[in-house]
Symmetry: C2
Subunit: 412 residues, 2 copies
């Protein structure tokens, strides 16, 4: 161990510091969040939920960034949604008390994590969709002397998890009702796995099915909590879920909870398209979300005409689609002047390198916009954000002058 | 902050502890390395390099796992190869003194990291392939009063980084020779980007080109170090590189250094195939590498006939190809009896879920092998390992009884 420069807090790529200039002082590649777009998105989605009478429990698995969880809560979020027991533990440790685990709680080691959270005072919910899992949970939490709040998941035929119809939901509810350790607290769904030729219609139909199943549980007095939840929505169809929950006038019986995650930094790919669809469906909404997350990286080689090699790869950025060059800067430029990357195209991504095809102009003698040089810094966008966040232990939040105003931790 | 269960060292998925049983005590999903296969691979590759008179500098970017770096060094490795300045810093902090950064060092923030390493006593090498970068490095390291050891990269037309021919190499060497701050220390190449209809022939030809360029540098007395390096090889063609370096009798003039990375845990995909090709090309080698890295995850739902949903997704496992179910276990089974997953097939991977198509037999009433249940644990293999390692902050090293003998950290 070389103690002279050893520091556990810097066990990560780059070790950026607050107050530094992104274009001069930060080891690149680095993941970057633009404050102005972030602030816009936080307010936008909270406003959308408020306008529809719904609570917002942003999916935290997108970012796993406690600083963003706190921003979401400060903006008015009701709680944070998470995908796994370790994610819930990480969020709770960073001050998130209301945790909606939108998945099944399976495995005694995961149940032990959740038991610890409940004992420590967390307001925890998870979902169930099988008698087998209900029995496992009842056995475990009975032995602990704790009560676990569960939501029944209603899925879709050919979909992911979840009961396949209302009969299954009712049978499961009766089984839960017989277990002292389990508290039926509402109904959960996820419309992100709808399929078929008319997904908009299918999402609406599914949302109504959720409403009817929830009302069935209420009618049969199978729900134990005074403020049961009805919750659905990912990042692509939340407007339709919100509309149906609103039209159903659930407010008095159920707390409607929406769970989009990617909105917080939006996207340069699938969610940009999804957002365009939402704005088309919802003509009253004038402005949409703004992409806030980028990866900044440098040209490391210009080995032959028409080609630039960038020091950024699958280790640094989501690669459901190839990253998109957005802007270029000169290293150290104090004014942060953006140069064009018109015609630049990523054609291949390896673990630590991106291959960019350059248009002819970028190689001509320096005029105006500046011929590309080794060391030039390129900002890239991509899709989807979940698979960029999980590449980083630290993310630079920057202001409009590209100064680092916060170095945010992730806790994957 | 909920201090009652707050512990910075556990800011990661799962928090497994040494001495626990993988099938009972560890939060799943979890990344797992089998000690027996790991030990085999460490010895195998060191033996291979020894037999070819080459030094081994395993590519550390594959794992970024200091415990594995130490195992590689203990097995006889000459140093550790890395891809970026922050990776080099992380390795040095964990006791690796000889660092071969097999990429260009670009950006003053990255140069500052490397300057810190050299000042702290690291034996550091990086590669250069452009006059622009040579000038940047010379300016920076002259200002620091330090000397930087560089290797010239010889690439391939249509490839990644690197000079495109020997003339470019010689011109660059002369420029380096004129800079007091830079110490030309050898030649570097990477054959992993060869292309064309006969890659075997192309790799051999490229290896000979490296040899000739290195000999040219030596002949013109452009190399400054007494023990210059010649280095190439990823994880698919190291046998051909080793052969050519061996046949060229470089031993006296150059230290030949091989840099495979994935061998340490091998693979269930592209490198399994590459290894078969190597064994075919090298009939004297009897046994090859063994896959050592798996992800263990649980069945969370059996929502309809023929379908199992697993609590493991793109957040947990590399997805250049869909993961391969290898074995199944009952949660808590003390004997660790492996059940069959014959006919199981992953058909889709989301962020936190895998969709498995089940054969008819697995759903029949329990006989012998055991009908699949919610909570069953499935071991998955995948390709390639670099993109599984970077999903995890902790990895469980297990013995043959599936007890956790070490919880290994990664430092991405």
């Amino acid at each position: 161990m070389n103690d002279s420069i050893h520091d556990h807090d810097e066990l990560h790529k780059g070790a950026p510091q607050t107050g530094t200039r992104l274009l001069a002082d930060v080891s690149l590649p680095a993941a970057v969040i633009h404050e102005s777009a972030l602030a816009h998105n936080l307010a936008w989605m909270q406003g959308f939920c408020d306008a529809h009478g719904a609570r917002l429990a942003p999916h935290g698995k997108t970012t796993m960034c406690p600083e963003l969880f706190q921003r979401q809560l400060a903006a008015g979020a009701w709680g944070i949604t998470l995908a796994t027991a370790p994610q819930c533990r990480a969020a709770f440790r960073h001050g998130v008390n209301r945790l909606l685990m939108a998945n099944q709680l399976v495995g005694e080691a995961n149940m032990a994590i959740v038991a610890g959270l409940i004992e420590a005072g967390a307001d925890f919910y998870c979902v169930v969709d099988s008698l087998a899992n209900v029995e496992q949970l009842a056995r475990y939490f009975t032995a602990c002397g704790l009560r676990l709040k569960v939501l029944i998941e209603l899925g879709l035929p050919g979909g992911r998890c979840g009961c396949r119809d209302t009969d299954e939901v009712m049978a499961l509810a009766e089984r839960i009702d017989s277990e002292q350790a389990l508290v039926l607290s509402g109904l959960e769904g996820y419309e992100g796995v709808v399929h078929g030729s008319d997904p908009e219609r299918a999402v609406r139909a599914y949302a109504w099915q959720l409403v009817e199943a929830a009302q069935g549980l209420e009618r049969d007095a199978l729900i134990e909590t005074p403020q049961p939840l009805i919750t659905a929505s990912g990042s692509a169809w939340y407007d339709l879920i919100a509309e149906v929950f609103h039209e159903a006038h659930l407010g008095a019986q159920f707390v409607p909870v929406l769970r989009p995650g990617c909105y917080v930094v939006h996207d340069h790919g699938i969610y940009r398209q999804a957002q365009r669809d939402i704005l088309e469906r919802q003509p009253r909404i004038e402005h949409g979300l703004k992409p806030a997350l980028e990866v900044f990286a440098q040209v490391v080689s210009l080995p032959e005409p028409g080609q630039a090699i960038i020091g950024m790869g699958k280790r640094d950025i989501g690669h459901d689609q190839l990253p998109e060059p957005l802007r270029r800067y000169r290293e150290g430029d104090e004014r942060g002047r953006a140069l064009s990357v018109q015609g630049w195209q990523v054609i291949r991504l390896m673990d630590q390198h991106a291959f960019v095809r350059l248009p002819r102009e970028s190689e001509e003698p320096e005029v105006g916009n500046g011929r590309v040089r080794v060391g030039d810094i390129v900002a890239f966008g991509t899709s989807h954000p979940c698979l960029t966040f999980d590449k980083w232990r630290r993310i630079c939040r920057v202001d409009e002058r590209l100064e680092v105003v916060e170095v945010m931790q992730t806790c994957f």
